[in-house]
């Protein structure tokens, strides 16, 4: 079959251009001393300096990262236990019910999650702020972890567990020495996805955060509504570099682990 033709290349090129244009547009103007996103006057680092001088903004970045790390860690723990519970569930009906319930939050629109959690926290009397944001992020990350871990657990042959028992492993040994190492790639993928979901979330946080606690997304929203400031541009430049770094790191890790864990032979 023919490879990529001229027309196909052009099409792909156009899609790439449009996908990256806004990002590079932002970064381009982050070096503009003019202070607007319309005419480029001269090159400057001042907006980047402004980011690092803005202690409030740095606090918010710090909050965002803390929420992301903590929530993904907790969500991964609950999710892995959940996947194990689903796999060991003997009752087929209960099992498929659990799976459907698991997927509800994945397909639910953010607005629904945000609004319903807002009601939940108010009903429970939880003060809106760090706790409510953290708990919400844990809550919407759990099902993703389950979905990442479950296929690994299902693909694992039962005879591996039999073999471990046969070789003298107790229930705890089986879990820590066989199951967990086996599903490790799934756990990492789940953790990583939870991390990005948390970092990326705007809508849910917007609903359940209170005065005095803000994450980056919410902050950018209010800055953007207030009008254009090139501090945001500088921030996007920084975030872009961090994101690309993370993605490439994950990609490299994934490629290596693929040969390590799935036993794909060359």
């Amino acid at each position: 079959m023919a490879g990529t033709g001229k027309g196909q290349k052009l099409f792909l090129g156009l899609v790439f251009l449009i996908l990256y244009a806004p990002i590079f547009f932002l970064i381009f103007y982050s070096f503009n001393s003019g202070g607007t996103m319309t005419s480029f006057e001269s090159f400057t680092w001042e907006h980047y300096a402004a980011v690092f001088e803005d202690t409030r903004l740095i606090m918010i970045v710090f909050n965002t990262v803390i929420v992301a790390l903590l929530s993904s860690l907790l969500a991964t723990t609950i999710g892995v236990l959940g996947a194990l519970a689903i796999v060991y569930m003997k009752n087929r009906k209960l099992r498929s019910t659990l799976l459907s319930l698991n997927n509800v939050l994945i397909v639910s629109p953010d607005v629904i999650i945000g609004a319903s959690f807002l009601i939940l926290f108010t009903a429970l009397g939880v003060k809106l702020g760090f706790t409510s944001v953290l708990v919400s992020h844990v809550a919407f990350s759990v099902p993703i972890v389950v979905l990442m871990v479950l296929p690994k657990l299902l693909e694992m042959s039962n005879s591996l567990i039999d073999a471990a028992r046969d070789l003298g492993a107790s229930g705890k040994d089986v879990l820590t020495r066989v199951i967990i190492p086996y599903i490790k790639p799934g756990i990492f993928a789940g953790f990583f996805l939870a991390l990005t979901y948390s970092l990326d979330d705007f809508a849910v946080t917007f609903f359940v955060t209170g005065n005095g606690f803000s994450t980056l997304s919410v902050e950018i929203y209010s800055m953007a509504r207030a009008g254009i400031t090139l501090t945001i541009n500088a921030l996007s430049g920084l975030l872009f570099i961090v994101t690309v770094g993370l993605v490439l790191g994950y990609y490299a890790l994934n490629r290596r682990s693929k040969t390590l864990f799935t036993g794909v032979k060359r």
Partner: protein, 368 residues
């Protein structure tokens, strides 16, 4: 011999729910240091016996004794039994060394001791120096050996092998048959081997248990079972056979294919309806005049060491012949055989009755 059997099944049954009976009231004994094979078609319950011994499942009824002690309630991790799994069940996240060391690590054996024993086990299965390899880098035959090393390193009393050769190609399978047999003799441990391949069973075992539909149909040495199958099922399952209906006229005289023949069987009722087995390799091609049976050659295949002829007598019975001589398709030929080649099977005879009857006339009959 007063030696305690290493494994004894006492009226063991295994049922799932009310309907599915996998094993039906099975009793047997296994001696220390022998190579046993459980042979039967898929679904006959042979793997279930293995899983009962390993402890992955519990019997519904009956007792399983290990070295004289009831082990019904002993979990698998506390039994002195190790299994070589059909799919090997090697841990993909551990390398060869750590796979073999798994059991020792669980028992918290000291580092240098682990190294010594793992290396010894790897040497035993001819995998010296492969410890650092990943499982994904090993071939099918090598994985097989890792699985065996992982079982023997724990020094179990009994090693269970669940169709371990089924995933290998023909050549490798034959090689591994030799190796397994030799390994068992060097280790002196009890091996219990499950297979549906009669050739494997005949080649390796000290004793074969032929199973069907949750029951042990016949047990004995490979030669016994091959030469004296108890029933049509066993005769059919082990090797190729010609089986025809007949009548036992009296001791040492049997009627089949419209003729009376001299044979060595005895102890049956006069004029009892029976089945007759003659192995294809016991049939000799000769001229129609000299032949005890006269048949027409239907097809002929060259099988390498012999020709395989499918022939029919005038009653329409098929006679399979393995012969180094050639014939012409469509020709009429004679078939000759010794009285010893005729094996008479009683319908629905139990294994005990069968053994008793065999003993009663074998003393006077052909010597063993």
């Amino acid at each position: 011999m007063t030696k305690q059997p290493i494994i004894r099944f006492d009226g063991v049954s295994k049922r799932y729910g009310d309907d599915a009976t996998i094993l039906d009231d099975i009793s047997f004994e296994m001696e220390r240091g022998k190579f046993y094979t459980l042979l039967g078609p898929s679904g006959c319950g042979k793997t279930t016996i293995l899983r009962l011994i390993a402890g992955f499942i519990e019997p519904t009824a009956g007792q399983i004794l290990f070295d004289g002690k009831n082990i019904n309630d002993v979990p698998p991790n506390e039994r002195q039994v190790n299994t070589v799994f059909q799919d090997y069940a090697l841990f993909p996240h551990l390398n060869v060394f750590e796979n073999v060391a798994f059991g020792l690590r669980i028992k918290k054996v000291k580092g240098p001791e682990v190294k010594r024993r793992v290396e010894e086990a790897l040497r035993f299965v001819n995998l010296e120096g492969y410890g650092g390899r990943e499982i994904s880098e090993m071939s099918g035959g090598q994985r097989q050996r890792v699985a065996i090393a992982r079982a023997i390193v724990n020094d179990p009393e009994v090693i269970l092998l669940d169709e371990p050769l089924s995933a290998l190609d023909l050549k490798l399978r034959t090689e591994m048959q030799y190796e397994l047999r030799e390994l068992q003799q060097r280790l002196g441990k009890t091996f219990i081997f499950v297979t549906h391949d009669q050739e494997e069973a005949l080649a390796m075992s000290d004793e074969i248990f032929v199973m069907n539909a949750g029951q042990i149909i016949q047990s004995g040495t490979p030669i016994d079972i091959y030469d004296e199958p108890i029933s049509r099922f066993v005769a059919d399952f082990i090797g190729e056979s010609n089986i025809v209906d007949g009548v036992m006229i009296r001791d040492q005289l049997v009627l089949f294919a419209g003729k009376e023949f001299e044979c060595v069987d005895a102890g049956l009722d006069p004029n009892e309806k029976i089945e007759v087995v003659i192995r294809p390799e016991d049939l000799e091609i000769t001229s129609p005049e000299k032949g005890k049976l006269v048949v027409t050659v239907d097809t002929q295949l060259f099988r390498g060491v012999h020709y395989e002829l499918s022939t029919y007598d005038k009653d329409g019975n098929e006679w399979l012949v393995h012969s180094t001589k050639k014939a012409q398709v469509g020709d009429e030929i004679g078939l000759d055989f010794d009285p010893e080649a005729i094996h008479v099977m009683r319908l629905n005879e139990s294994e005990e009755d069968f053994d008793r009857r065999l003993e009663s006339y074998e003393v006077t009959g052909h010597a063993e």
